[in-house]
């Protein structure tokens, strides 16, 4: 499925949009890690929690649960939250 990558993570992907697979958001992140080593830990901590300033959207809807099922036609967006200077 299509995954939109925010600029802070493009040092890993070298692209703003990549393809990855997974039946859940967790599996998708596992596939992204296989393709782009190091990426997952920058957005998910060691306790399997989303980093405080990283957000995930599936088909435009914000998702907070890594077990969220995904379908091949879904579009996933990784977004960095706003921040100050």
């Amino acid at each position: 499925m299509k995954v939109l990558i925010p600029t802070p993570l493009r040092s890993y992907t070298r692209a703003g949009e990549v393809e990855a697979t997974g039946a859940t958001l967790a599996e998708l992140l596992g596939d992204l890690e296989r393709r782009y080593p190091g990426l997952r830990f920058r957005v998910i901590d060691e306790q399997e929690r989303m980093r405080p300033h990283i957000r995930f959207f599936v088909n435009g809807e914000q998702v907070f649960d890594l077990t969220r099922p995904l379908r091949p036609e879904d579009s996933v967006q990784v977004v960095q939250a706003l921040s100050g200077g």
Partner: protein, 411 residues
């Protein structure tokens, strides 16, 4: 279990009648002479990236190399003295989680650690800890190539055996129940989170370690980190708090003297101290600082060859803790007699209306003769002195807030 408390400390000391068991096997380390060749490399870590400043042979002019990791919060950038080529950078961004970058060619190319410092996954139903940032990096002992230590926020000690590629938690500290209680919670740390810092490896013994926790005290291990004991006797805490509670102790920076590894200096939230092992009682040597300046600050710098000489950079620790240079007049202070007296060193520094200060990792000495001193300010300026603080000159302005400065010998 940790070896904790005065009773355990006495037990340990009684085995040799002098100090630690490890110390009994140590031999004195001769003072190292300045290296005549090579160049001093000043490593500057900032809130928005890192820079390398390469000096000429006389340390008069400096060439900036950077930014590296522009936009990353870089808490520490350290050169491995064992090869003079490998750099490690502790980094994160405002959005992304923490990591460690590694260069084996003095910063020309970088690779990310394959497994950065991270706590183990907590059992189901328990709230586990997550590293917010790696704060401190220390190369391991000369006899252990590839060994590195990292201190994190929240408090955590990590070790790498492969030059910083993969990192493992030091469970003897991180998971010890007594230490977990002394580490306290987020409110027991600095406004930017608790910091595990000042990881020191005894140059005579790779198993003899020290570290500091802000807050949470100074601690010592004699067995490579498997067990730890507090080393806080003589240290003061904030008025009305109980000094017997290890959590209340806030060492800001601890340094071991390379020329006499039995001597340590400490800049604390509550004064400047010296410790001469095998004693385990810190002596507050900051009382001899001028009263109008006080003895509060962040950095502590030791001389590479003279254990009686050390430098501090005081800050205003009155009222609401402005943490600026006292009176807006920045100055370093040096002792040449182990803390019995202090001399102000402000020649070349701004004479007034300079409200910056120097963080705990942001002041360093090189190993030349005379010693070069380097400091980075919260206002993004890098200052240097080629004569042990006698005269200061500004090397760089307009950098981001400087978090750490290290002086090293590049090969």
């Amino acid at each position: 279990m940790s070896r904790t408390g005065p009773r355990a400390e006495r037990r340990s000391r009684s085995r040799t009648g002098r100090g630690s068991p490890a110390r009994a096997q140590k031999t004195p380390t001769p003072a190292r002479r300045p290296r005549p060749a090579g160049r001093v490399l000043v490593l500057v870590a900032t809130r928005k990236g890192a820079w390398l400043y390469r000096g000429d042979a006389a340390r008069r002019t400096w060439r900036a190399d950077g930014p590296h990791f522009l936009g990353h919060v870089v808490n520490h950038l350290v050169l491995d003295p064992r090869d003079g080529r490998t750099l490690l950078a502790a980094a994160k961004t405002g959005h992304l989680g923490p990591t460690v970058f590694r260069s084996t060619d003095l910063g020309r190319t970088w690779k990310e650690a394959a497994r950065p410092p991270a706590f183990p996954k907590a059992p189901e139903g328990e709230k586990g800890r997550a590293v917010d940032h790696t704060f401190w990096l220390t190369p391991g002992h000369a006899a252990e190539p590839g060994a590195w230590y990292a201190g994190t926020s929240p408090h955590g000690l990590f070790r790498s055996a492969d030059g910083g590629v993969t990192w493992d938690p030091v469970s003897g500290l991180n998971d010890d129940p007594q230490y977990r209680s002394w580490m306290g919670g987020a409110q027991d740390g600095t406004p930017d989170g608790p910091k595990l810092h000042s990881i020191i490896v005894d140059p005579r013994d790779p198993a003899h370690l020290y570290l500091g926790m802000s807050s949470g005290g100074v601690h010592e291990s004699l067995d490579g980190g498997r067990t730890w004991a507090p080393l806080v006797r003589g240290m003061e805490v904030v008025e009305a708090l109980d000094p017997s509670n290890i959590t209340f102790h806030d060492p800001h920076c601890v340094r071991l003297c390379p020329s006499d590894p039995d001597r340590l200096y400490q800049q604390n939230h509550c004064g400047i101290y010296r410790l001469d092992r095998p004693s385990s009682e810190w002596v507050r040597i900051g009382k001899s600082m001028p009263g109008r300046i006080g003895d509060i600050g962040f950095p502590m710098v030791v001389h590479p060859r003279d254990a009686d000489t050390a430098w501090v950079f005081p800050m205003d620790g009155t009222s609401v803790w402005p943490r600026t240079s006292p009176g807006g007049k920045p100055a370093s202070y040096v002792t040449r007699d182990g803390g019995r007296s202090w001399r102000r060193l402000d020649s070349g520094l701004p004479e007034r209306q300079a409200w910056w200060t120097v963080k705990r990792q942001a002041m360093a000495a090189d190993a030349r003769d005379p010693v070069g001193l380097y400091l980075g300010t919260t206002g993004g300026e890098l200052w240097a002195s080629r004569d042990e603080g006698g005269r200061w000159g500004c090397v760089a302005r307009h950098l981001p807030e400087i978090y750490a400065v290290e002086a090293a010998e590049a090969r």
